[in-house]
């Protein structure tokens, strides 16, 4: 009898280890043989710890399970898929799960994330095998044709980046994975690294094989110790199985991979700052050009992509560019793992093709706010993303559609706020965060953010409000156009959107606001 208890850090944060122990203990007491598998999370995070029992018909789920529930679950006969108040039925038939289009997250939650046998048995390594039989230029062409764009937030076409690295002659090239997932409301990178690390390894190996890079680094944020353990364990397995090393799957090609830990600097999610950090320096943003693809890590051509971008690569090489491109809308092709977070009833991970609306995500999947109060606004795309009001909830998830209203898809994180949220406070926080995290290289960001906090404080206090609002707009304009990178350049988005849609929170009358924001 196999029972699954996730080892994902979200599940652990709400007691999955203790539940796994309690199940083992209760099984011992009752003399019932039970094999406990520590799987990744299915992404139905409001149900964590979600315990699954394997049956002939499929896996039956129970959650959220506490240690106190365990004896009762045994007594009710959960090992025989019996009904119970915590029962959710067949996990894969659950509406939250069944409606998803899981390409990137296809394996997450199925089994032991570290096992390379499990990975191969479920479609793993086919993409890499195909890539090894192709010319590098053809692999790059497949990525270009798939329409894959950078999932870290900037949405730059991945194939163009790879092609630059391929075309640039050098004695050494690198593949670097940006795993500095610092945006609030995002955890899809973490779930891949903890729940299916081999797909990231395979994606990076394909990038190396395609562009001629022989060494890869995963730059992982220090806030993710569980992901670090999972990645290092998976890399050891991959090396032992010849997926990594001097002779990738017997091809005679080399690809080595190493995890490097960041040190709590949000700015190191910016690609050039990340490279500085990998080189052992302060994470100061570099001027571009040159772009990392031509002169990146240690001055060498570098493929630099986000975790989800790399994790989307194996299926493209396995099923073909057309298969992937057939998902999505407009110029946003494929699927996006979307994270429903904050004040939401059913928070979790929903991978869908581009085109799904915010309203479907928030209400059909998310079930509305956790507090039961009306949803006031959502912030999409991390701390630099705009606050989106209810009037725009019919917006489809599409890079261009979001950009059209001054918002951004970013890394696909959605943070939900109910009507008790004070948008002026959140605008102030955006400036405060920018001040804390600014690398200090450019003035608009370094100084502008601190002045921004002061100006918003004066607006909140009602000191000379009209003039201060004008000043705030001017300051935001300077930051937007004068900053070196997205931190200073995009902090105005949450600030101005809060001001535009929720002026009353700043003590301003709604009707007298100028239309432009």
């Amino acid at each position: 009898m196999r029972v699954f208890v996730p080892c994902d850090s979200s599940a652990l944060s709400v007691g999955a280890d203790e539940v796994a122990e309690a199940i083992a203990e209760e099984a011992r007491k009752r003399g019932t043989p039970v094999e406990i598998v520590r799987n990744g999370s299915r992404g139905l995070l409001w149900l964590e710890p979600l315990v699954e029992v394997e049956t002939a018909k499929g896996r039956v789920g129970y959650g959220p399970v506490t240690v106190a529930d365990v004896p009762e679950l045994f007594a009710a006969g959960f090992l025989d898929a019996a009904d119970h108040r915590l029962g959710i039925g067949m996990v894969e038939s659950h509406p939250y799960f069944a409606g998803q289009e899981r390409l990137c997250f296809a394996r997450v939650g199925l089994g032991d994330p570290i096992s390379i046998e499990h990975y191969q048995a479920n479609g793993g390594l086919r993409g890499l095998r195909n890539a090894l039989a192709m010319a590098g230029a053809d692999v790059v062409k497949a990525i270009t044709d798939s329409g894959l764009r950078g999932r870290g937030g900037a949405a730059f076409p991945t194939g163009i980046k790879w092609n630059t690295v391929l075309q640039t002659a050098a004695d050494q090239k690198y593949v670097v994975c940006n795993a500095d997932e610092g945006d609030s409301g995002t955890f899809s990178d973490r779930m891949i690294m903890e729940g299916d690390p081999h797909v990231l390894i395979e994606g990076m190996a394909i990038a190396g094989i395609a562009t001629g890079a022989t060494k890869g680094y995963i730059y992982l944020r220090s806030e993710y110790p569980d992901a670090e353990r999972a990645l290092n364990a998976a890399i050891l397995r991959a090396e032992a199985h010849g997926v990594l090393g001097a002779n990738v799957l017997g091809s005679g090609r080399r690809f080595d991979l190493e995890v490097r830990r960041g040190a709590g600097a949000y700015i190191c999610g910016e690609e050039t700052s990340l490279l500085e950090s990998l080189e052992g320096k302060r994470g100061m943003v570099r001027f571009k050009p040159p772009v990392p693809a031509s002169s990146g890590l240690f001055g060498k051509p570098t493929v630099l992509n986000n975790v989800i971008t790399f994790a989307s690569v194996p299926i493209i090489l396995d099923r073909g560019a057309t298969f992937y491109r057939d998902y999505g809308m407009g110029r946003s092709r494929g699927t996006l793992p979307i994270q429903l977070t904050g004040n939401i009833k059913r928070g979790g991970l929903v991978e869908k093709a581009f085109g799904i609306t915010l309203r479907e995500l928030l209400y059909d999947y998310g079930g509305g706010s956790a507090s039961g109060r009306p949803i006031k606004a959502v912030q999409v795309g991390g701390p630099l993303g705009a606050y989106v009001p209810e009037s725009q909830f019919d917006l489809p998830f599409d890079y261009e559609a979001f950009a059209g209203v001054g918002a951004m898809v970013g890394h696909g994180g959605i943070v939900v706020f109910d009507d008790t949220a004070d948008m002026a406070k959140l605008a102030r926080y955006a400036m405060e965060f920018c001040a804390i995290e600014s690398c200090g290289k450019c003035t608009p960001c370094r100084i502008g953010s601190t002045r921004g906090v002061e100006v918003i404080d004066r607006i909140i206090d009602g000191r000379d409000r009209g003039a201060q609002v004008a000043l705030l707009r001017e300051l935001c304009d300077t930051m937007l156009h004068g900053s070196l990178c997205a931190l200073g350049g995009m902090t105005p988005y949450p600030v101005l959107s809060a001001l535009k849609y929720f002026p009353e929170d700043f003590g301003l009358p709604r009707e007298t606001l100028p239309a432009a924001a």
Binding site: S13, V14, G262, R282, F298, G342, N343, G347, Q379
Partner: protein, 155 residues
Amino acid sequence: MPDDVNVAVEAAIDRHRSVAGGLLPLLHDIQDRLGYVPQSAIPDIARALNLSRAEVHGVVSFYHHFRQSPPGRHVLQVCRAEACQSMGAESLLNALRTQLGIDLHGTTADGAVTLEPVYCLGNCACAPSVMIDGRVRGRVSANAAAALVSELQGA
């Protein structure tokens, strides 16, 4: 330098001096062992990596993760990012400040607990979150937080 500090620093230097871009791994190695990066280690690190002391100090002080003084026996990090705010992180933080009698970056007088802010633990669907000695806890209610702190202060 005291002996244990000396040993940890020299061992970390030996392990990382020839690693490309090895300064961050070296500093992590020291902090993982000692809980902080002692000022007294900086000249040795600089010499081993052929950097100036200013460059090493610049790196140590740039990153929020690196501490320049020893923390308390337990480190309690409270997430202040938006997702946790939407679920009451600010009032949670204020309650913890009051209970511990310290502000952010402070350590209780008995040396039991250091309180630090953190900006996202990647647990945003189970907010609000805190991290205690490297372990994330989610859905932390005010009562649960108070109980956790009492436990830390007793331990």
